[in-house]
């Protein structure tokens, strides 16, 4: 990654604003400010991460120390049909899930942003903030019942309105299990993404909007012509965070399907969990984790490159 593509340094802030101060400040000041963070990260993130990467080259039968076996875990990994399948699954899951979250968060934020009353805007914002406290476990329990067999909510609804003749086992068939996991939590408005997008929209200069309205620009056209390009930065951020989360997803798989049917919902992180904690192959699990890490990193760099290909930025 080159310097001007550094994440978070909005293009215009990077070079102009802070240069002045740097000359006057002794080097120990920033170091002093950074030391607590670096110490903690070193002890609880870097050392464990390096340990995990090291153990990916070992046969590691805890509590015994790992026994170095070179690239054997990695070779086995790329011959492992379940792991290969899990990669395909998670790509689909990630894309589907991210699209759902991004679109719904954007739709929700636009709806609230377009209200003319400040009071109502605040109320709706609050309404979609509070559900963030619902623990994932409760959500999954509810959605399990939505997708359940004969007495599942979705089946009763669809057979009730005559859309389907007989109930369908959504989580029990290879073609629908993964999409069913993607749609958990629908409409997926409430959340961090919604709040970031809404804040970014409210930050847009109202003059641009008013000008657009005067020009007879319809509201819908304004959304695509003005709002969407203007919040590219926040969208890219949510995209990266959401892809990251998607890549590491394993709670829905653990609770709803345990990887079935026929491994169609097996995710790499869940496979890591099984290989490590259920089968006790911690070395192999570490190799899965390392590959997962590298893939996420590659993906994030790719997104950042896409984002800064045209380095013109109206956000922030």
């Amino acid at each position: 990654m080159t310097q001007q593509k550094t994440p978070t340094t909005g293009a215009k802030t990077e070079s102009s604003r802070w240069k002045l101060s740097s000359g006057f400040v002794p080097i120990y000041i920033p170091i002093l400010f950074l030391i607590p963070a670096l110490l903690l990260l070193f002890a609880f993130r870097y050392i464990p991460a390096v340990s995990a990467i090291f153990h990916s080259f070992t046969y590691w039968n805890i509590p015994e120390p790992g026994e170095f076996i070179g690239l054997q875990n990695y070779r086995a990994l790329f011959d492992d049909p379940i792991f290969i399948k899990s990669l395909g699954n998670i790509l689909k899951y990630m894309v589907g899930r991210t699209a759902l979250v991004l679109v719904m968060a954007f739709v929700g934020a636009e709806l609230v942003y377009n209200l003319s009353s400040d009071r109502w805007r605040n109320i709706w914002r609050m309404v979609f903030t509070i559900p963030m406290v619902i623990p994932i476990t409760v959500n999954l329990l509810v959605w399990q019942q939505v997708y359940a067999g004969r007495q599942g909510m979705l089946n009763e609804f669809l057979t009730g309105i005559g859309a389907m003749a007989r109930p369908y086992p959504w989580l029990g068939r290879p073609d629908t299990a993964l999409p069913a996991l993607i749609f958990i939590g629908f409409p997926a408005v409430a959340g961090f993404g919604f709040l970031i997008i809404l804040a970014a929209l409210q930050n847009l200069s109202s003059e641009v909007n008013d000008a657009a309205l005067i020009d007879g620009c319809s509201r819908l056209r304004r959304v695509f012509a003005i709002d969407l390009p203007a919040i590219r930065g926040p969208l890219a951020l949510i995209l990266i965070l959401s892809l990251n989360l998607g890549m590491q997803e394993f709670a829905p798989m653990l609770v709803m399907t345990q990887g079935g049917p026929i491994n169609t919902t097996m995710s790499p992180a869940y496979y890591l969990y099984i290989q490590g904690f259920t089968y006790g192959k911690h070395g192999y699990a570490s190799a899965i984790g390392t590959v997962l890490m590298l893939m996420t990193l590659a993906l994030s760099i790719f997104i950042l490159r896409m984002r800064y290909r045209r380095a013109y930025d109206v956000a922030v």
Partner: protein
């Protein structure tokens, strides 16, 4: 088959009284052993959950208290059960990795069989010793191992031949059925053979519009489909008992009726080609398996916990629930309808040629009373205390009242009165043991998951019979090879 109607009155109090008297009589007879000292942490799983189950937890506390009075220099700390959902294994793995596990700790026996001596201390030597806490005249007093039935010892023996845990109790299973639903469908809970049984299940599905047989099959991990799978394999291979067993284990356990293949026997049979997925017996296995999958809830692959199946049964959406002794309490408390207990039908020649004319019981050591001692404790000063406390815990006058008060499992130490739980399950308990254990307990846990995934492919039509057999054979061979790599039996290639 006899049907036992549910809703039995539980005669806990009188039993407790008997034990209390027994204990009072034996107490003074035990010599005070002042050599034992130290401090241990003991994890009894569901047997110690003081907040949720104060009644039996009080007994567990009393047992520990009595021990400390007997051994004033010893301290026993009971660890309340870990409310961890599915994260118990994460909890235990990290504890073991850091040598911080409790000194006596619960785990599933098949998990112990996976890690064996890297985590756990072999208890063989101590099982040969006398357990003075067991009253004279009761098996186990001279040799601790005699306190346990041979089938328990056989099943919990790890692939390397050692015992890494003692199993103080056992589960039995049976089918809880909804009496009204059976009557409405005109079905009797008693079947002459498999064909009759599946026909009746179809009748229930078609006439009542409810699910018939409650079992489930998630993508990985334990399920009651495991039970079914082990039964179908046991039935089609029933005529091969003598071919599959190894002599060295037959000496230890001459009683065939209670015997289950252990990991070495299983792996060797695969290695020798006796057990082969291309054997014609496997045609029957695949057919029965598929017929079974058709009487299950439509989303049997999408259900991940037995609790969800029980919820369907108690919500009157399901005619039969296949569960264990531990469900007795919840069903007694929460069922708003009349229910009874029954079991699967025998397999006869009408079902396939050479059928054994019987059905086997599904029961096993996957209960709350499975305790082992981590290696870290064996290397510490507290090892003697841990072993001694395990002996104390397993004495009938201590474990019996605890197990019967909880009432979810059947105490398996000689000298314990069997509480009211088993009474309901007696018909099943009297059957022969299955030849094959759960898929995860056959070779390796990974093999069990692999087997499940292959069978899901078959049920969902992703693979045909021939492809399925080829995959099963490969899975068997891989499982046996993995076990050989870990244990290195003398016949291994």
């Amino acid at each position: 088959m006899d049907i036992v109607k549910g809703n039995m009155m539980i005669k806990k109090l009188s039993l407790l009284l008997v034990f209390a008297l027994l204990f009072a009589a034996l107490g003074p007879a035990m010599a005070q052993d002042s050599d034992i000292s130290g401090e241990i942490v003991v994890h009894l799983q569901v047997y110690y959950r003081p907040e949720q189950h104060p009644e039996h937890s009080a007994i567990a506390e009393q047992v520990a208290q009595d021990y400390m009075e007997l051994h004033p220099n010893a301290t026993v700390n009971l660890l309340p059960d870990i409310p961890s959902g599915s994260d118990y294994i994460t909890w235990l793995s990290s504890r073991i990795a850091a040598d911080e596990a409790p000194d006596i700790v619960w785990d599933q026996w098949f998990n112990r069989s996976r890690v064996m001596g890297t985590w756990w201390t072999a208890l063989d030597e101590y099982l040969e010793m006398p357990n003075h806490y067991i009253p004279e005249g009761t098996p186990g007093h001279e040799r601790w191992a005699d306190s346990f039935p041979p089938n328990v010892l056989n099943t919990t023996r790890a692939p390397d031949g050692h015992w890494y845990q003692v199993s103080l109790d056992w589960v039995e299973t049976a089918m809880y059925y909804n009496v009204a639903m059976f009557e409405e469908a005109g079905v009797e809970p008693d079947w002459a053979n498999w064909g009759e049984f599946t026909a009746d299940m179809k009748t229930i599905q078609d006439t009542l519009g409810v699910e018939a047989f409650g079992s489930f099959m998630p993508g990985t991990g334990w399920s009651t489909w495991y039970w079914a799978d082990s039964l179908w394999l046991s039935i089609v291979w029933a005529d091969q008992h003598s071919e599959l067993f190894m002599d060295k284990y037959s000496e230890m356990q001459p009683d065939l009726a209670w015997r289950q293949l252990n990991a070495e026997e299983y792996a060797k049979a695969i290695h020798d080609g006796v057990l082969s997925a291309h054997d014609p017996r496997m045609d029957d296995y695949l057919r029965i398996s598929k017929e079974f999958s058709e009487i299950l809830p439509i989303d049997y692959i999408g259900i991940t916990s037995l609790g969800d199946v029980m919820r369907m049964f108690l919500g009157e959406q399901l005619a039969i629930y296949w569960g264990g002794t531990w469900d007795n309490k919840e069903i007694t408390n929460s069922a708003s309808f009349e229910w009874g207990l029954t079991y699967l039908p025998p397999f006869t020649d009408d079902d396939f040629e050479g059928a054994p004319n019987t059905i086997y019981r599904v029961g096993g050591p996957s209960s709350a009373g499975q305790y082992g001692i981590p290696v870290a404790t064996a290397n510490s000063d507290n090892f003697d205390l841990a072993v001694d406390y395990l002996m104390w815990m397993s004495a009938p006058q201590n474990f019996g009242p605890l197990a019967n008060e909880f009432g979810g499992f059947i105490p398996m130490v000689a000298g314990t009165e069997v509480g009211p739980v088993l009474a309901n399950f007696q018909t099943v308990a009297a059957l022969q043991d299955r030849l094959f254990g759960d898929p995860s307990a056959r070779l390796t846990i990974e093999h069990g998951d692999n087997w499940t995934q292959i069978m899901q492919g078959y049920f969902l039509g992703a693979t045909n019979e021939e492809e399925t057999k080829a995959l099963l054979q490969e899975s068997w061979e891989n499982g046996a090879a993995a076990l050989c790599e870990q244990v290195e039996y003398d016949w291994c290639p």
